[in-house]
């Protein structure tokens, strides 16, 4: 009885030993994987920091202005002048009521076969 029990204990301890070692090796494997990932992340963070720095340089007014100046003539752009600014308040008000006489004249003209828009287009040489 005792002998059987001892055999059982020995087998059990061997099994547990195998189990513990398997666990140990799998953890070591995971740790290696983790440190590899960490190294990878660090490397990518390094690359990311360089890309971010590049992006910051490309966004600097000091970087953009020379480009604008270089293409100034080609794009026909000039520095904005004060007189080019306007405000909504400066727009003329909408006429109080529609100009009915002009509208009537327009519709009559169209009825008579004269299209003022066509006349403009012909004048401009379009069509």
């Amino acid at each position: 009885m005792i002998r059987k029990f001892n055999v059982f204990l020995i087998l059990a301890s061997i099994l547990m030993l195998i189990g513990v070692y398997m666990l140990k090796f799998s953890i070591e494997g995971t740790a290696a994987e983790r440190s590899a990932l960490q190294a990878h992340i660090a490397e990518q963070e390094g690359q990311l920091s360089l890309l971010k720095a590049d992006w910051a340089v490309l966004n600097q007014p000091a970087y953009i202005e020379p480009i604008v100046r270089r293409h100034q003539a080609e794009l026909a752009i000039e520095q904005v002048q004060q007189k080019q600014f306007g405000a909504f308040a400066d727009l003329p008000m909408r006429p109080a009521k529609p100009d009915t006489a002009a509208m009537d004249a327009l519709f009559e003209a169209i009825d008579n076969g004269i299209d003022p828009i066509d006349a403009i287009l012909e004048l401009e040489g379009i069509e």
């Binding site: 920091s49 360089l50 971010k52 720095a53 966004n59 600097q60 007014p61 004060q82 600014f85």
Partner: protein
């Protein structure tokens, strides 16, 4: 035991039961001893094995955190990066692992020829475990060195500060040393505040820190820097500087001083004359100081806006006679004293106030103490403790005392914002925060009069700001010129001058104040002069013409706005 054993003994027994049992026990003991010896020798062997293992003493394993210590990114008020951390490779060596020092030296010098040979040889000889060879290299050089395949030479990644705007905001940002510690500018201030502590506690290690937001607007900063560079060549000046401030929050919108340096190469900051003229330069302010004198006298009620002052003759102090630069030689009204920048008139204004009151007013405006400001590069102003009669007279038009342009802008801000002194700052601040730090120095009605005086100097014929106004038409700018003669060989020289233009815009509802300095300018062409209106004034005009739309100030040509500035007594 023996007694029990006897009954089960075999029929033929060569040995006695006691002997047989004894033998068995001895055999068991031997097995046990063997097992123990094997066990202990295993442990001992392992110990010896461990004794031979070399521990990892390379920097990789130990101090990686300390050298990748990071700093928070610095952003401008719109979120554009002004300083970021980048990871760069640094070359180090383990001299005790180097087999052939001579070979290593020759090979390394093929890639890094700028390293001195004997220095490198000494560096790589010996038994040390770790020495730096070159820090903060480029990935391309790393690749080349790795290809050489020298044993005992390796790279490690370090954090390095990078300033994408290069020179543009150099005096604001300052720089950091190779160990990522701030040594100048706002970087140094950040360290004294919090970053150094974080690094020490190990919290600033490779993880993202909250960005620091500055009050600076990089667009405005760029325009200011660009125009100052232009001024340096246009007027062949030895230096130029400028600062713009939000008058209600006290935020510095832009601050530049030329010559400057590239913070990416901290050594360039050591070149002579690259100091920050806005905070660390003190100058005789010249006529822009008349604004201070007049503001003090108006606020105390010593003079009124419609008073007249006799500027027909120079004022004598013993041997000296002080007269006007562009003398009108007639009786001038107060606005005319300001507009024609009359020294005589200003002395009379100061005398009406009294020299003790005048001196006390300078203290109230913070002109004789350090400006509370973040940058460590600051110089104390030089203002006499007590004024003599002649000392007070010259001080009233800005001679015989020296202050920094930062002092002047802080004073001008108070003149136009309703009379509150607000300490300038480089960090983002909202109005509520700023209001808590307001000190009332002028009555609001004095501030209204100062706006009027500054504006007429720009729009009325003969005003010294008319050059400026021509360029910045519609943006309702007003300001005061200041041409301060420099002392050369003990006397004031009329050819070497420091020119200032202190301004504010849009004056109908002011938002920003600016001080521009141009040092020792020459005439741009034979038709122009060297007084401040020709250089500092036009620089101001050009800067405002470009930045006003960025700052949301739309041009308005309506004369009504200027008319509204005129005080009721003069209408």
């Amino acid at each position: 035991m023996a007694v029990v054993g006897d009954e089960f003994a075999p029929t033929i027994s060569l040995d006695g039961a006691r002997k047989a049992r004894g033998n068995l026990t001895q055999a068991r003991i031997r097995w046990m001893i063997l097992a123990l010896v094997i066990g202990f020798s295993l442990v001992g062997g392992r110990l010896i094995q461990l004794g031979f293992v070399e521990t990892d003493q390379r920097i990789e394993g130990q101090t990686r955190d300390a050298i990748t210590a990071t700093r928070p990114p610095i952003l401008d008020r719109n979120g554009l990066e002004m300083a970021v951390d980048i990871r760069v490779p640094s070359l180090y060596s383990e001299p005790r692992l180097i087999v052939d020092v001579e070979e290593a030296v020759q090979k390394l010098r093929t890639v890094l020829p700028e390293i001195e040979e004997t220095w490198l040889r000494n560096r790589l000889s010996g038994e040390q475990g770790f020495v730096w060879v070159r820090r903060e290299l480029t990935p391309a050089i790393q690749e080349q060195v790795m290809r050489l395949g020298i044993p005992g030479i390796d790279f490690i990644t370090e954090s390095k500060r990078f300033y994408p705007a290069m020179n543009e905001a150099s005096h604001i940002l300052g720089s950091t040393n190779v160990d990522n510690q701030g040594i100048a500018g706002i970087e140094r201030h950040m360290d004294s505040e919090s970053v150094a502590l974080l690094q020490e506690l190990g919290l600033a290690r490779g993880n993202a820190l909250t960005p620091v937001e500055l009050s600076v607007d990089m667009r405005v900063q760029h325009v200011l820097h660009d125009q100052l560079l232009d001024a340096m060549t246009r007027y062949q000046a030895i230096a130029a500087a400028g600062v713009m401030m939000d008058i209600y929050t006290g935020e510095i919108i832009a601050l530049a001083s030329l010559p400057d340096f590239n913070p990416n190469e901290p050594a360039t900051a050591l070149v002579k004359d690259t100091f920050n003229r806005i905070t660390a330069g003190i100058f005789e302010p010249g006529s822009i100081f008349k604004t201070v004198t007049i503001a003090g006298a108006l606020d105390a009620g010593a003079v009124r806006i419609n008073d007249d002052f006799d500027a027909r003759y120079g004022i004598r102090f013993g041997r000296f006679t002080i007269s006007d630069f562009h003398g009108k030689n007639r009786i001038l009204s107060l606005p005319e004293v300001y507009k024609y920048s009359s020294n005589i008139g200003t002395i009379r204004v100061m005398q009406a106030l009294g020299k003790e009151n005048f001196r006390a007013f300078l203290t109230r405006m913070g002109l004789d103490a350090r400006v509370p400001f973040e940058l460590p590069e600051m110089r104390l102003p030089s203002v006499p403790k007590d004024f003599s009669d002649v000392g007070a007279a010259t001080a009233s038009f800005g001679h015989g005392l020296s202050v920094s342009p930062l002092h002047m802008i802080a004073a001008y801000v108070a003149f136009v914002n309703g009379g509150n002194y607000v300490p300038p700052t480089l960090y983002k601040r909202d109005i509520a925060e700023a209001e808590a730090q307001y000190t009332r120095v002028l009555q609001p009605k004095t501030s209204d009069l100062m706006r009027y005086l500054m504006r007429i100097n720009a729009i009325e014929p003969g005003g010294s700001g008319s050059q400026m106004n021509k360029l910045a038409l519609g943006y309702r700018v007003g300001g005061k010129t200041g041409t301060a003669e420099k002392v050369v060989d003990g006397r004031y020289s009329s050819s070497k001058v420091t020119n200032f233009f202190a301004s504010a815009f849009p004056l109908d509802n002011p938002r920003y104040a600016m001080v521009i300095l141009v040092d020792e300018p020459k005439a741009e062409n034979p038709q122009s002069g060297t007084t401040a209106g020709w250089n500092a004034g036009t620089v101001t005009g050009r800067v405002i013409q470009r930045v006003a739309p960025m700052l949301g100030v739309a041009p308005d040509f309506s004369e009504l706005l200027d008319k509204q500035l005129v005080p009721s007594v003069l209408r």
